[in-house]
């Protein structure tokens, strides 16, 4: 099915349509805002990063601290009087980047390990899957703490830590898919036509397994944002004063429940994105598996 055909089908049902809208808005905004921030930092004009926002997300304004949601501050303000909605928007590219790189890295590494394991079987399978089990045994948060404690608190190390704990589930998924596809007749036909194992994996196994992996990965985007937010919540994400959703939720917790919006509303944003990704993933899966 063509890309646009799939989009049309997704848009025909309310759930997937909502998911598509949320995810598109999230990534669309993140792309624009992320580019502005990147260019701003390259030409040493960080203000470019908030040119589209209603105020500077970093400047404190103590007279405005902890204002409840209102028309001028739709999510209220934090303890330093900064507009929370502005900071949420400013933080979006970070979360988009983390979720994409973590899931993308997971798919890539998982595929490299899982596909040969499932297709070739035997010794390769034993080695690859025991290796996978080894990584599966790592507790995500503790590994992240260890990595950041060793290398320093930077976005790249947080992402690295997440990819390390993320890929094993993809390796298992890819292995299961490769195992299923290997049993199909057209693989025998390809073998008999004299295709090498490598070409069978790249030309037949990978395209056929992408359906399943794609729908799982879409669902997973939300999960990765959630886990990254937990890292930030624990103080392992981006360093202050840069805003981050999980970190905001965490900091705001000490002002709960009297100043509930500080913690709750960034949390609601995370929830909405996760649900959006899940709705989209469900919709894609339904289309790919032919559930009408």
């Amino acid at each position: 099915m063509s890309f646009f055909g799939t989009l049309k089908k997704l848009a025909s049902k309310p759930g997937p349509l909502l998911g598509l809208a949320i995810v598109t808005a999230f990534y669309g905004w993140s792309l624009v805002e992320g580019l502005l921030q990147l260019v701003g930092s390259l030409i040493h004009t960080p203000s470019l990063g908030w040119i589209l926002l209603q105020s500077n997300p970093f400047t404190p304004s103590l007279s405005n601290s902890l204002l409840p949601p209102s028309l001028s501050h739709i999510m209220g303000t934090d303890d330093l009087g900064r507009d929370i909605w502005t900071r949420v928007l400013y933080a979006a590219p970070t979360d988009a980047l983390v979720s994409t790189v973590v899931v993308g890295g997971g798919v890539l590494v998982g595929g490299l390990i899982g596909i040969p394991a499932g297709y070739l079987g035997g010794g390769v399978e034993e080695v690859n899957m025991r290796f996978t089990d080894l990584f599966l045994a790592f507790p995500a948060l503790i590994l992240a703490v260890a990595i950041e404690a060793t290398f320093g608190r930077q976005l790249i190390y947080a992402i690295l830590a997440l990819v390390i704990v993320w890929w094993p589930s993809y390796a298992r998924l890819f292995r299961a898919e490769a195992l299923r596809i290997r049993g199909l007749r057209f693989i025998d036909a390809a073998l008999l036509s004299g295709l090498s194992n490598r070409s069978i994996m790249t030309r037949h196994i990978i395209p056929s397994s992408l359906n399943t992996v794609l729908s799982y990965a879409t669902l997973d985007l939300g999960n990765s944002i959630l886990v990254y937010s937990i890292l930030s919540f624990l103080g392992l994400g981006v360093p202050a004063p840069a805003p981050e959703w999980g970190a905001m939720t965490s900091l705001g917790l000490s002002y709960f429940p009297q100043w509930w919006w500080y913690s709750m509303l960034p949390g609601v944003v995370i929830t909405v994105i996760v649900i959006g990704a899940a709705l989209l993933g469900d919709g894609i899966r339904d289309i790919l598996t032919g559930v009408e």
Partner: protein, 328 residues
């Protein structure tokens, strides 16, 4: 010239701690341009034979106990994995029973044939451009009598019929130019009209390319139409083998006779259609003629051992009625 020689092939399947003989001491040869039919019912070992020859038998659970599969003068069981790639494609190609599973659902028909053409050209010295390969693919589709070849080439497997897919598989076989084609019940999933068209196409291809064909089927009528030689398999053993006309018109083994009697014919109009009583069950038949429990002529001698092959009047028969020899 001889394309394939199978000598005393014995294959077992490991199942639940025990072993089942799938093939016992099977021998046959296929000459260039010859279609050899392997006929048998479910469980007779005919598909195992096809898979063993194409080296697609998964081991475990299958184990080749003894025997040789000689292709182009060398035993393929002894080939290293790297050498197996050499016999594949340009050596041995296979058309499968279920057409809807034998093509990759994600690739256009054209691309799959082109893939086969590229594999072949990799073996030769001639370098092919993609356009050239595509033109060749379409010409093969025309050879196997697909009417709107250009149109079908652009479609995905689910958009064409089972008969067309089997034609596409034959086109792939043409593209590979193998010396041996294994056809594992290629027409079973098709309706009778399509079946006869495919068989005619196959016959034409064989005449043109001189490839040898191992044709596996449970349908005696189909085998009778297309094969030069036939081997009737029962209980993993060749019970009777010889030229098709001999097998069909002068059957000797009680099993072959039973099979032929249970095919409806134009000449026999009265009375109910006969059937071979019972069904095949391999348990407890290792040491005797496996057909004994179902055989109308069964007697004490049948249980003395596994009957050896006797050559009677140009055909090979494994029955005590044609000489009381037993395999040791």
């Amino acid at each position: 010239m001889e394309v394939l020689r199978v000598e005393g092939l014995t294959v077992d399947y490991k199942a639940g701690g025990g072993q089942v003989h799938a093939l016992r001491n099977v021998s046959l040869t296929i000459q260039e341009g010859e279609i050899v039919g392997v006929v048998g019912e479910s469980g007779s070992g005919k598909s195992t034979l096809a898979l063993a020859v194409s080296r697609l038998l998964r081991s475990p659970p299958a184990i080749q106990r003894s025997g040789r599969i000689v292709f182009r003068g060398s035993d393929i069981a002894e080939l290293l994995p790297a050498k197996i790639d050499n016999i594949r494609g340009t050596g041995i190609f296979m058309v499968f029973q279920d057409p809807f599973l034998s093509l990759n659902p994600l690739m256009k028909v054209k691309d799959q044939i082109v893939e086969a053409i590229f594999v072949r050209s990799k073996h030769g010295s001639h370098h092919l451009e993609r356009e050239e390969a595509e033109r060749e693919a379409i010409s093969h589709l025309k050879t196997v009598r697909i009417g709107d070849a250009e149109d079908v080439a652009e479609r995905y497997p689910h958009q064409i019929s089972g008969g067309q897919i089997q034609r596409v598989m034959l086109a792939m076989a043409l593209a590979e130019r193998p010396q041996l084609l294994i056809a594992d019940e290629p027409t079973t999933a098709l309706d009778v009209t399509t079946q006869s068209q495919i068989l005619a196409t196959l016959k034409d291809i064989v005449e043109e390319t001189k490839m040898g064909v191992l044709f596996v089927t449970h349908d005696l009528a189909v085998a009778g139409v297309i094969c030069n030689q036939m081997a009737v398999l029962y209980g993993g053993m060749v019970q009777e083998a010889g030229p098709t006309s001999k097998i069909l018109f002068e059957p000797k083994h009680p099993y072959t006779i039973g099979l032929i009697d249970s095919v409806p014919s134009k000449t026999k109009k009265e009375g109910p259609l006969t059937a071979i009583r019972g069904s095949f069950n391999p348990v407890g038949l290792e040491e005797i003629c496996p057909f004994t429990p179902r055989c109308p002529l069964a007697r004490g001698e049948c249980k003395k051992g596994v009957p050896a092959q006797n050559t009677v009047d140009g055909t090979i028969v494994r029955c005590v009625n044609y000489g009381e020899n037993y395999e040791s």
